[in-house]
Each structure stands twice: as C-alpha cells, then as structure tokens.
Amino acid sequence: MVYEEPVTDYDHIVENCTCAFCGSNCDDLDYLVKGNHVVAVRHACRLGASKIMEDEDQRLKVPMMRDENGELQEVDWDTALDAAAELIANAVRPLFYGWSETSIECMKKGLELTEYVGAVIDNQATICHGPTVQAVQNVGYPLMSLGEVKNRADMVVYTGSNPMNAHPRHLARYSVFPRGWFRQRGRFDRTLVTWDPKFSDTAKMSDIWVPFEENGDYAFCNAIRAVLKGKELKEDVISGIPKQDIIDLTEAMKNVEFGALFFGLGLTHTLSKQRNIDIAIGLVQDLNAYTKWVLLPMRGHFNVNGFNIFMAYQMGFPYGVDFCRGYPRYMIGETTTVDLLNREEPDVFMVIAADPGAHFPGGANMHLANIPVIQIDIHWGPSTELADIVLPGTFIGVETAGTSYRMDSVPIHMKSAINPPETCREDEWIVNELYERVKKIKEEAK
C-alpha cells in the first residue's frame, strides 16, 4: 500500500457527519471541504471515504430521456417529470423499488405516491435481509443497541457475514475492539467467534472459527438447541462439525456474561432462508435461560433498515407492500419485486436509490428491459442502461440532510456538508413533484 500524505489543502471541516455507506451509519466523520467538494474524510473506512469523496465520478447531473434511437438525451426537468408522471398515472401494475439509500423524508413522499396510484413499494430487503424480517415477524426480535454490545459483550459471534470487508468499522467501533464500561481492556476482554464455511478475513482474526458446511446452518443451530436441552447428540459429525466441538461451543456460549450474535446474508440466503434466522432467534431465546444473549442482522445499506421500520410503522408490513387494491397487502413471492418481475407483471418500474441492473437476476432484468423504467439516482450504473427516464437526485448525508436508521434501529440525523449540483434536485422534491403531477393527470381524467 502506498503511503499518502494527509490532506492539508482544504477550506473548512464539517464535523460529526454520518456516513452514507453501510448499516453501521458511523456518525463521527469529519469532512474536509474545499470549493464545495469533499476532498478528504477523517475516521471513515475506505469504503465510506471513497463513496463520499468520489461522488463526482459518473455523476448523473441532468434529467435525461431516451430518444427514438434509444439514446439517453438531456431534457429539461418539466419534460422529464411530465413524461414520468404520465407513465405512472397510466400504469396498471406499477412497482416502485429502492429507497434504501435515501432519506425517510423521501420515503414518506414515496408512500403517498404509492398509495395514491395503487402501486407496489419495495426495497432492497427483498434481495437481502427479507428472510430476517419474515423470521422476526414469526418468532420475535431479541435485539439490542450497538452501545450495549460495546459496553457489555464478552462474546461476539459473526455468522454468514464478513464485517472486516463489508462493515469495516463494525468491529472497531461497536463490537470487538472498543473499550466499554464493563470491558475496559477492549479486545482482550472479549471472545470473537465466527461461524462461516469460508475462512474469511473476520474468521482469520477470530478466537474460534466454526466452519460448518454450506447449507448446514439450520442443522447446526438445531444441534446446539438440542444440547442446550440436555440431549445427547446421535451423530459424530453434524453439518461438518465434530460433536464434541458443538458441545464445547454450547458450553462456552452458556458461560459468558453477555453474548451478541451478528448474522449476514450468509445465513439469510442459504437453503432454508428465513428458517435459519428463525432457529437462530430460537437459539438466542434458549441461551437466555442461562445468560444474556442478543442478536442483530448486519444490514447492508445505510437506510435499508429505515425503510423496513418506516413501512412497518406506517402500514404494518416491512417491505414488498402492494396497494393495488387500495389497502396494503404483503406476501412473499406475490408482492415482492423479483417475483413480480420474473412473472412479468409490472408495466412501469421506478427505481430510486438502488441498482437492480447490477443486483437482480437475469430474468428479472430481462423484463425491466421490456418495460418503461424511471430512475432517480445520483450515479450512472447498470440501471441507467435500462432506464427510459433518468432524474438526477442528490447525495443524502453529503449534499442533503435527512434521517436514517442504523442497523440496530437507532434513528440518526444525517447532515449536509456541501451544496448539490445546481441541475440536480433533492430526492424528496422529485418524488413529491411526481406525486403532484400524477394527481393532476388523474384528476383531469375524471
């Protein structure tokens, strides 16, 4: 790695900004600003810093529409908004997807629009922690705040996630390294355990690595629960782990003062999906008969949890909410984005602050190529190639203030540090403008 000199050429510092990258929502960042541009970021990880500093790279700056040759051409805001509103107003099965990288204030406007036109509203949970949310609905949510983990936890388990790569400051700021009230020696007072088939970077620095076989998570948790209930295990090896190791691990988990289990997509997206989380929650409940244990999903985007909390609070369902009959409905496989696209149901698709072009399965993207797609985003990406109308938004947490929810459901205000480009508009303004224009079209049609 090449040594880089610290940045000293800046105009002023904006302190205590919130990172707009992962679900850790680190709110201790300092932005070094020069000429309305963030030239350096203090305290952030490499992922967060690069997202904040390199926001001009492939930035969408002007509204665009496809011409008759299929090329995106610059248009004025009124033309783009009117065309988008016309598409939404005339759609029979519109679908509004994304929302996890924008503010709660924007989601509020989006929900009004969704309810008014009878659309489906969904976020990235549908392809990441959706199974977690389903399991939580089924069996409960023994969660905590990250502050509790920092101050109390003496055993931290990561399973199906690799925070050293995906949430780089999670261990440093919340779970393993920081000195807490009851853990004055930080890392030395804690046992770090990783359950993961892969010898990930997190596993490399763990005290205990449990490499259960792929898709073996359900049977592994079931075996621990059976041991907790005093049962002797029948098999010598369960999910690739020797019987005695499972018994020893269970004993270790019983004898801590405060344990925290963090899980990622490695648990939500293996064979038994939401039932992995279901049994992990059951396991945490069982462990609470002996000592204090809690669990938390490692959420990906900085506001993916915010959307689920916002929707659950407003409509009773966390994601994939269908308003086509005028009232909210929610059913996995029926009202969720990828299933709807695979069934070729949606006739208009609006994507806001998300990149389905990069993340969706091929079948779903094939349908997106066949229907009108409206994109509200700040950067050019694979979804822009699928989009027919592009509306450039602003960067929440850097250019626009807003509210987001951290992975432990703590709401955090995100400051703005610089001004957005003159030709861009705030996400909230764009969605509200679409709502007003759709309303006008619908009322004129009456």
């Binding site: 029979v92 659309a119 089924n138 629960r225 049962k231 039932r275 059951g282 059913m331 149901e345």
Partner: protein, 269 residues
C-alpha cells in the same frame, strides 16, 4: 345445480384476482351479471369478458348447488376459491398463487400444477391437486404462527419447500416427493408424504404427526427414536409395514411424532 364455465380466451401477464368469484357470491348470478362484472387486475378492474367466455347453466339456491369450471391455463389467476364455504370449483389447467387460501368448506380440484400458497390458512373443505404444488402449501400468512387448521389437501405430485408451516390442524397427503422443512413449527395435524424427502422434516415442531413413506436424506438432531413399529395405527390411520417412530423437536420440547418407513430408511435403524 348451477354449472358456471369460464373458458380462458386471453392470457393476462398481470394476474387476475378471483376472490370475488366463489360459489358464495356467484350462486345467484346469471350470465348477464358475469358479463357486467369487472375483475381486479393490478390497480384497475377490467370486464371479465375481456379474458373469459362465460357459460351459465341451471339454478342454485345457495353456494352448495354451484359447480364452477375454469377451463384453460389459470397460471395468472390468483385466489381461486379464496374463503369459499361451499360448492365446487374445478380448474382444468394450472392454478396461480393462493388457490384455496383461507378456504372454509366445499371442494377445489386442480387438474394441473399449482403455484405457492395452496390452502394457506385453510380451515375446512377439500383441495385436490393432480400435479405438483410449489412452496408453502397449507402454510400460514407470513409472520402468523398459526397455519392450516382444518380440511384436507391431497397433492398427487410433488410439494415444494416448507409444506404446512405452522400447521395447527387438518390433513395433508403428498403423493410424490417433498422438499425441505415439511411441517416446520407444526403444532397439530397430520402430514403423509408418499415419496422421498430431502431435509429436516418437522423442524421445531411442537406436536402433530408426519409420516414419510419414502427415503429421508437428513434427519435433525432434535428427534429421538422411540422404536420400530409394525403396521402401526397413527392418528386413526392404519399404516402398512414397518415404521421407525421419532419424537421431537427436542429443541422446543416438542412432542410431535415423525414416522419413517423402516425399509427405505435402513441406515437409521
């Protein structure tokens, strides 16, 4: 007896919702009523005649006198027989999501394959599927801890994942194979699977009965063997042959019973 025949003439890629077209609501409808009816499609309603040819014969005093026949591929017709209390519906083709969901009585026969959520939260009546069913047959609403509580589902083909999740009553018979976690969180009821099962039947089950007549690939640690029984009588049903009985799931102090065909699962003896 009133026979209503709806023959598909135009396939809609956006699913039609049929929960209003059950014997309980249509027993006193004549052909004109059907022609004036607008069926929910997405956020709109369109005339039923756009999609179906309609024939109505005979009269009915109540839903019990109604026989509805749906001809053609109903692969985009959701909620067939939703909350029906009586009468008969026959689908001569495949059926879409939620066929027979929350059904209370009557009978639904699908002469093809069915999508997910067949008989979700069913309380009574009979469902027969001649082909395969996909995921979550006889299951609960997502987040609800009580699933199917009564009635009978008979599937002649294979069943997908998480059959009868949170089942609290009723009977399910699967003729073919079954995927993972059949009877997960089950508290009551009877499941009989004629073919092979991939993994983990009865995960976290508290009570109820699962009978597997084929080969089971993975059994959970939470099940304790209770012996081998010859021609056992299980829930009032006489099984032929030797069966290994397990009790579980221990992880939740469950008292459910899992019966495995001893000949096909000799490795577990």
């Amino acid at each position: 007896m009133k026979t209503i025949t709806l023959t598909l003439k135009k396939f809609s890629s956006i699913a039609l919702e049929f929960e209003e077209l059950i014997p309980d609501t249509v027993y006193n409808w004549n052909k004109e009523d059907f022609e004036n009816y607008q069926v929910p499609v997405g956020n709109s309603r369109f005339p039923l005649t756009n999609y179906f040819d309609i024939e109505v014969e005979g009269d009915a005093e109540g839903p019990e006198d109604v026989k509805m026949i749906l001809e053609g591929d109903m692969g985009r017709v959701k909620y067939i027989g939703y909350r029906m209390t009586d009468g008969e519906i026959i689908v001569n083709g495949d059926a879409d999501l939620q066929a027979g969901a929350e059904m209370i009585g009557g009978s639904l026969k699908i002469n093809g394959n069915a999508e997910s959520y067949v008989g979700r939260e069913m309380r009574g009546g009979n469902i027969e599927v001649m082909g395969n069913v996909k995921e979550y047959c006889g299951t609960s609403y997502i987040g609800e801890w009580r699933g199917m509580s009564g009635g009978v589902i008979k599937v002649h083909g294979n069943a997908g994942k998480q059959l009868a999740d949170c089942m609290s009553g009723g009977e399910i018979y699967i003729g073919g194979n079954c995927d993972i976690l059949a009877g997960i969180h089950m508290t009551k009821g009877y499941i009989e699977i004629g073919g092979d099962v991939t993994r983990w039947p009865g995960g976290q089950m508290k009570n109820g009965t699962i009978v597997i007549k084929g080969k089971l690939s993975y059994l959970l640690e939470g099940f304790d063997p209770e012996g081998v029984f010859v021609d056992p009588e299980v829930d009032g049903k006489q099984l032929a042959g030797k069966y290994i009985k397990y009790k579980g799931d221990v992880g939740v102090n469950g008292k459910g019973s899992l019966w495995l065909d001893a000949e096909k699962n000799r490795n577990l003896l």
